[in-house]
C-alpha cells in the first residue's frame, strides 16, 4: 500500500495540525527571503515562480521549499503565491531535517518527489528548446480549449506571460497579429479560437 505524505507528516508530534489560510494571490514567501520553513499544502493550489516565470503549480499534499533549503544559500530561490485560497502548514526547517533523519519513508518520499520534479522540469526545458514563443502560446491556447472543451478560453496577460516566459507586451503583440489574421477574437478576459487549424499552421504545430 502506498504511504501518503499526509500520514507521514502528521505522525510527528511537533507538527501542528492547523495550517494558515492564505487568500487567492497572496505570497507565501518571496524569492530571496531567508528560509525558515518548508511548507506543506493542505488544500488549494499555489504557483511556484522564478524570475517572473512559472516553474510549476503545486496542489494539496505537496511540499514546497525543500530544494531551496537543501541547495545552500539560506534563501528561497523562487517565490510562491496562491492561485486559489489555500491552507498551508509551515514546518520549521530544523524540524524538517529531524523528520528526514528519523523516518526513512519520509526521506524516500522526498527523494522521489524531487526526482520527479527534476524530470518534469527537464521535459519543460526540452519543450521550450523545441518551440518558439509563438508556438508555445498557441499550444497553451489549444491546451486550454481541449481542457475546457470550448473554443472560448479564459485568458489573462499576466498569467500567460508567466507560463510562456515572455513579456505581456509581446503576448499582446502576438494576439493582435492573430486577430488581424482572423484566427482569434479577444474580449474581456476571454479569447475565442475562431480558426483552430489556422492557429496550428501559424504555430507550425
Amino acid at each position: 500500500m502506498q504511504i501518503k505524505i499526509k500520514d507521514l507528516i502528521f505522525d510527528f508530534p511537533f507538527v501542528e495540525s492547523r495550517g494558515e489560510v492564505f487568500e487567492k494571490n497572496a505570497f507565501i514567501f518571496r524569492e530571496g527571503e531567508p528560509i525558515e520553513y518548508v511548507f506543506y499544502i493542505q488544500s488549494g493550489s499555489v504557483k511556484v515562480v522564478k524570475e517572473g516565470y512559472l516553474l510549476w503549480e503545486a496542489k494539496a499534499n505537496e511540499l514546497i521549499g525543500v530544494s531551496s533549503f537543501f541547495s545552500a544559500g539560506g534563501t528561497y530561490h523562487f517565490s510562491v503565491k496562491t492561485s486559489t485560497e489555500a491552507k498551508v502548514l509551515g514546518i520549521k526547517v530544523s524540524d524538517f531535517k529531524e523528520m528526514l533523519a528519523s523516518d526513512t519513508d519520509f526521506a524516500k518520499h522526498n527523494m522521489k518527489m524531487i526526482s520527479e520534479r527534476i524530470q518534469l522540469t527537464n521535459s519543460k526545458s526540452k519543450n521550450l528548446m523545441n518551440y518558439s514563443s509563438k508556438s508555445r502560446l498557441i499550444k497553451e491556447m489549444l491546451r486550454r480549449m481541449k481542457k475546457g472543451s470550448s473554443k472560448t478560453i479564459e485568458f489573462t496577460y499576466e498569467e500567460i506571460s508567466e507560463i510562456i516566459g515572455v513579456s505581456k507586451k509581446f503576448i499582446q503583440r502576438l494576439l493582435s497579429d492573430f486577430e488581424k489574421k482572423d484566427l482569434i477574437k479577444r474580449f474581456q478576459n476571454k479569447l475565442i479560437l475562431k480558426d483552430v487549424n489556422g492557429l496550428k499552421t501559424e504555430g507550425e504545430l
Binding site: S67, F69, M111, T121, M129
Partner: protein, 236 residues
Amino acid sequence: MKRVNINIPSCCDCANSKGVLCALSKENKEFLSDKKGHNFYKKGQAIFYEGNSANGLYCINKGRVKLSKLGEDGKDQIVRFAKEGDILGYRSLLSNEAYQATATAMDDCYICLVSKDKFNELIEKDPRLSVSVIQLLSRDLRSAEQLLVNIAQKSVKERISEAIVVLKRTFGFRSDNKTLDVVLTRSEIADMAGTTTETTIRTLSQLSNEGPIELVGKTIVINDFKKLLLEAGLFD
C-alpha cells in the same frame, strides 16, 4: 586486449572527500567497501545506456563523465557532467525507473559500483546518506529550474556565455589559468545552451571578437571572466 590493473582504495581512504557517499559513518563505509565492485572505462566508453534497467549506483573515483539523452531529432543532448566523487544513476534507483541518460567516460575513468539492493540497504541504515542524497537532488533541481528560466527568458548569447561559465566552474582551467580544462564540440555546447550548432558557432565567434573569450581550435580560453559573467547576465 591489454588488461588494466585497477587499484581502488577502500571508501574509508578515498581521496574524494566531498562525495555523497562520504556522508556515511565509518562502519557503513566499511560495509560499502566490502560490497562494492569497480571497473575501468576507456575514454569514450559507455558506462550505462539510457533505457537500461537501473542495476546500481556508480561513484567516480577518477575521471570525468558526460551524461546525455537522445533527443527527438536523434541527436545527443547533454544533461550534465560528473567528476571525481560524483555519483551517477541515483535518480533512476530512487524512482525505480530505467536510467534516464547515457553515461560516457570523457577521460579514462575508474568507477565503483554499488548494487541497487546495497544502496537501498544503506539508505535504510544511515539517515545521513538520505539527507546527503536529498541535498544532491535539490542542487540538481535548482540547476534544472535555472536552465528552464534561462531558456525561457535569456538570449542565446547570454545562454552560451553562461554555458562557458558553467564549464569553467565544473572543470576549471589548465595550468595556464585561462584555458578551459575540457574540450567540447560546438554541438555539445549548443546542447548545453539549448540552441542550434550554427547559432553557437556564430555566437562564440561574436564573443571572441568582443574579447571575453578566445577560440583556439576546439579549446576555449577565457580572457576576461568578469566580462563573460556580465554577458551571461550573472554577477559574482
